[in-house]
């Protein structure tokens, strides 16, 4: 029987009934073994790919150690983001305050690595011991002549989503500070792509082919200077809306840059992400180019997908990912290769996302918010799922009981966005779902 904790009863739905609003967006229940992390994690994932910035984590060592080189976010230049810096607070710092250590650490690291900016992440105890991180940052910024931005990401101060917001506020302070003037009729920013396995570069290629200039990417392959000039773009494309919509809204208000929500996963959503931009710029020529691009790509892709689809048709998938917007794309992408979604959930989805999922999914599909191993393991077994799409924390749930697994989290090394990504995705699902090894586990 499905064992749902009392306080989580309204976070587990099944599609096919009347539309019910998911009771999402709340703090995880203590002891529920949520798959979520914390505020710090939310901030860290958003800012992580900015490759020419110093990321200094202020606190005891754990938070820095567990986020060292953790994402597959690629940089075309500097690799500073792949180092892990910590003030490594000790007992005496906790007693007497961590400010002096933070000051020295910041100065020595800025001298050594000459970053374009520095982010100082406050972890749990920093707020408690009363360090004035803002003051230290302001002082160092003045002395070193670069932006030093405090990220108030104490783990307990909300959920991962609140951490996104904190990161967006920091980005907001950088946007608009670039002095160069830029005049490009067709220019966009790409928000919420983190250049996992070079996915951003693929998207840039698509948009360039349509005659569009990408001013800044926030934050995949990110650079401080480009972000500082992001206010010159005519349009913000937002993927992974949960993580970065807050910044897009602020840029709408401040600079009048409109926002379009897109997804680059699966054929339908990827193509729509191109058409949407062409429609926005009201350019027939651009639309024509987008259509050509889609046609060319599909001509290559569709025949390549056929074999996978034939083999996978009738298979069932469980999806549990960070954001629900990605989950929506995944349901569609899986459908394209004949795979039916029987469980779908996310850590941080919102009511609209979940409503869309309820409409999109076949009747009887489990839809869950902020789930945990006890629930997920039950659901995949009860529905007889053949493959689990998730992250490292979900992987053993699948493998232990002989179910395939596809990593769709930020650690992955394989591009899954765009048309090439769709093919990679099909291959990944196929390689795991069709493996002969499962016969030794599943009777």
């Amino acid at each position: 029987m499905l064992n749902i904790l009392e306080e989580r009863k309204k976070q587990v739905l099944t599609s096919g009934n009347d539309l019910v609003d998911m009771a999402c967006g709340k703090q995880s229940a203590a002891g529920s073994v949520s798959q979520r992390a914390c505020v710090f994690c939310g901030s860290r994932v958003v800012l992580y790919p900015i490759a020419d910035a110093l990321h200094l984590i202020h606190g005891p060592i754990g938070c820095a150690a567990y986020t060292w080189d953790i994402r597959g976010s690629l940089s075309s230049g500097p690799q500073l983001h792949r180092l892990s810096f910590s003030t490594d607070l000790q007992e005496k710092d906790v007693v007497f305050g961590g400010e002096p250590k933070l000051y020295v650490a910041l100065c020595e690291l800025i001298d050594e690595y000459e970053p374009e900016a520095a982010f100082v992440y406050s972890t749990c105890i920093v707020g408690v011991i009363g360090d004035d991180v803002d003051a230290v940052c302001a002082r160092v910024s003045k002395e070193k002549g670069i932006k030093v931005l405090p990220i108030n990401s104490e783990g307990f101060s909300g959920s991962k989503k609140d951490g996104y917001k904190v990161a967006c506020n920091a980005l907001d302070k950088i946007v608009g500070t670039g002095n160069e003037t830029m005049q490009s009729e067709y220019s966009i920013n790409i928000l919420g792509d983190f250049n996992l396995a070079g996915e951003l570069w693929m998207l840039e290629k698509y948009y360039r082919r349509m005659g569009i200039e990408v001013i800044a990417s926030l934050t995949g392959d990110g650079r401080i200077d480009k972000i500082a000039h992001a206010h010159h773009a005519k349009l913000n494309l937002v993927q992974c809306s949960g993580s970065i919509m807050h910044l897009a809204r602020s840029m709408e208000e401040k600079y009048g840059i409109p926002t379009k929500k897109v997804s680059y996963f699966g054929i339908e959503d990827m193509s729509e992400a191109l058409y949407e931009v062409a429609r926005f710029f009201e350019s027939d020529d651009m639309m024509q180019k987008a259509r050509e691009l889609v046609r060319d790509e599909l001509n290559k892709l569709m025949p390549a997908l056929e074999g996978y689809k034939a083999a996978l048709t009738g298979k069932k998938a469980a999806i549990y990912v960070g954001g629900a917007f990605k989950a929506i794309s995944l349901v569609k992408a899986l459908r394209l290769i004949g795979v039916k979604t029987v469980v779908v959930g996310s850590q941080t989805g919102n009511v609209d996302d979940y409503n869309l999922l309820q409409k999109l999914c076949d009747d009887g599909t489990y839809i869950v918010d902020d789930s945990n191993p006890v629930e997920l393991s039950y659901m995949v077994q009860q529905t007889g799922a053949d493959i689990f799409i998730g992250g490292v924390k979900e992987r053993p749930i699948a493998y232990k009981i002989g179910i395939g697994f596809c990593d769709h989290n930020h650690e992955r090394k394989l591009a899954l966005a765009g048309y090439d990504g769709m093919l990679n995705f099909a291959k990944e699902v196929y390689a795991s779902a069709m493996s002969p090894v499962w016969k030794f586990i599943r009777k």
Binding site: A29, V33, P60, I61, G62, Y66, L109, C124, V374
Partner: protein, 454 residues
């Protein structure tokens, strides 16, 4: 070398991680981290990537109000929910920097929970104080073992069994120790024992708590043992400071129940293994079983076959203090030239421990309280031939263009980290061959000829 006040690419992890690892070796136990949600999730992710097993760890999930008014309510809620979902036999709490800084008394929280609980069957509670600003994961590991023994051990009768308190060994290592005791016919209680919980078989049906681990009765029974064996030197001595006494589980049992306490080096290398087998043999009163004598023979034979490939090769060894001490001894025994011994731990005991083993040999560079960037600068220009340590040092081996032999925890970039062997004659043999072969492979790849015999 320039001194940095910041830590750049840490060569250590936080204290609660070590505690969770130890707790995973208790049967029917769910670890609970009393702190923010992220601690549990990060630690789970870190351990899952190494062990490739489910690692469920609950969090009391602090919010603003818990931070201001104390985490009691969250702690109690977490216990309720863990009981509802997992029905654990033992619920083991580990504290964090946050809950320790605000002064939460977890032991008191649990006492109150027990007092007011309406549950028919309560789990047994264990609590370890493990703020991450004191020591590292190695300290957390031993603190958790100490907490379990200190809270649960009882003296009922005088037994004849042996308490085994291993170091941060792999599941394969733990299985080896059990094999040895079984072969000698000596009764034992090993704590922790995650040989099955973190390296188990596949399941027909998903299990919320994996099988295996030291049982509650066994932990209680540590109080009846004849002797306690512990492996290492440093244990949790970098952890508690500020005048508080530092104990291991074995010391506690000695002080409390008068159980004899024996401290052995990690049984790695012929000499250290001999010491271990002699100890078990003396406890049992019997001879070392033939199978192990044969293992020893094969190991020495392998030493002879491979000695020349690695003689004088310059090695860097890094990891927990007890691990690097054991490996320094082993690498010296086989004729390697250990250039750098490095650890993120800072008990202050490392240099002396290495000097004791070094004897008349020249001392290596001993770096404690260090990080990977410092190790990288120290290693460059020294003509290093090989790195030995966990997977986080890979980037240095890549920079230096020398092989890395992966050992210890974590191994995040290869399969089978949970089955790497670090102890015993056979484990030593396996390591010896891996090191020799890494050197040979390097030479073979570099040779223009591509020799078929090496």
């Amino acid at each position: 070398m320039k001194q940095y006040i910041s830590t750049r690419n840490a060569c250590k992890l936080c204290t609660p991680l070590g505690a969770c690892l130890a707790y995973k070796g208790i049967e029917g136990c769910v670890p609970v981290i009393h702190g923010s949600q992220g601690c549990a999730t990060y630690i789970r992710r870190y351990m899952i990537s190494h062990f490739r097993e489910p690692v469920d760890i609950a969090s009391s999930n602090f919010d603003e109000s818990a931070t201001i008014f104390g985490g009691k309510e969250n702690c109690h809620k977490a216990i309720n929910n863990v009981v509802a979902q997992y029905k654990p036999k033992i619920l083991a709490v580990t504290t964090t920097c946050l809950s320790e800084t605000i002064g939460d008394d977890v032991q008191q929280f649990m006492n109150e929970y027990i007092q007011h609980s309406k549950l028919e069957k309560l789990p047994v509670f264990v609590a370890a104080s493990t703020p991450s600003y004191q020591g590292s994961h190695a300290d957390g590991f031993h603190q958790a073992v100490l907490a379990a023994v200190s809270g649960l051990s009882k003296k009922k009768t005088q037994g004849v069994h042996v308490n085994i308190f291993p170091g941060m060994f792999s599941p394969a290592d733990l299985r080896y120790i059990k094999d040895v005791f079984n072969a000698f016919g000596v009764g034992y209680i090993m704590l922790p024992d995650y040989s099955e919980t973190l390296d188990g078989s596949s399941w027909e049906e998903y299990k919320h708590i994996p099988d295996g681990g030291t049982t509650l009765a066994e932990i209680e029974g540590t109080g009846d043992a004849k002797v306690s064996l512990q492996f290492g030197k440093v244990f949790n001595k970098a952890g508690k400071t500020g005048g508080k006494s530092i104990q291991t589980a074995a010391t506690l049992l000695h002080d409390k129940f008068g159980i004899e306490e024996k401290t052995l080096p990690w049984p790695l290398g012929v000499e250290a293994c001999d010491q271990f087998f002699a100890q078990v043999s003396s406890i049992s009163g019997g001879e070392v079983p033939l199978a192990f004598r044969a293992e020893r023979g094969r190991l020495i034979d392998a030493y002879a076959d491979g000695h020349k490939y690695i003689f004088g090769k310059k090695a860097v060894i890094y990891g927990e203090e007890d691990l690097v001490i054991a490996f320094y001894r082993f690498l010296s025994e086989i004729g390697m030239d250990v250039s750098i011994v490095a650890s993120g731990g800072k008990s202050g005991m490392l240099k002396t421990a290495i000097a004791e083993i070094a004897g008349n040999r020249p001392m290596p560079l001993v770096m404690d309280d260090t990080d990977f960037e410092d190790i990288a600068s120290a290693a460059s220009g020294r003509g290093i031939d090989i790195l030995i340590g966990h997977s986080k040092g890979y980037y240095i081996s890549r920079k230096l263009g020398v092989p890395l032999v992966r050992i210890g925890f974590p191994v995040h970039d290869r399969l089978g980290g949970q089955r790497i062997r670090h102890i015993g004659y056979e484990g030593t043999n396996e390591l010896f061959e891996r090191i020799v072969n890494a050197v040979i492979e390097g030479a073979q790849n570099k040779s223009e000829i591509g020799y078929k015999y090496m």
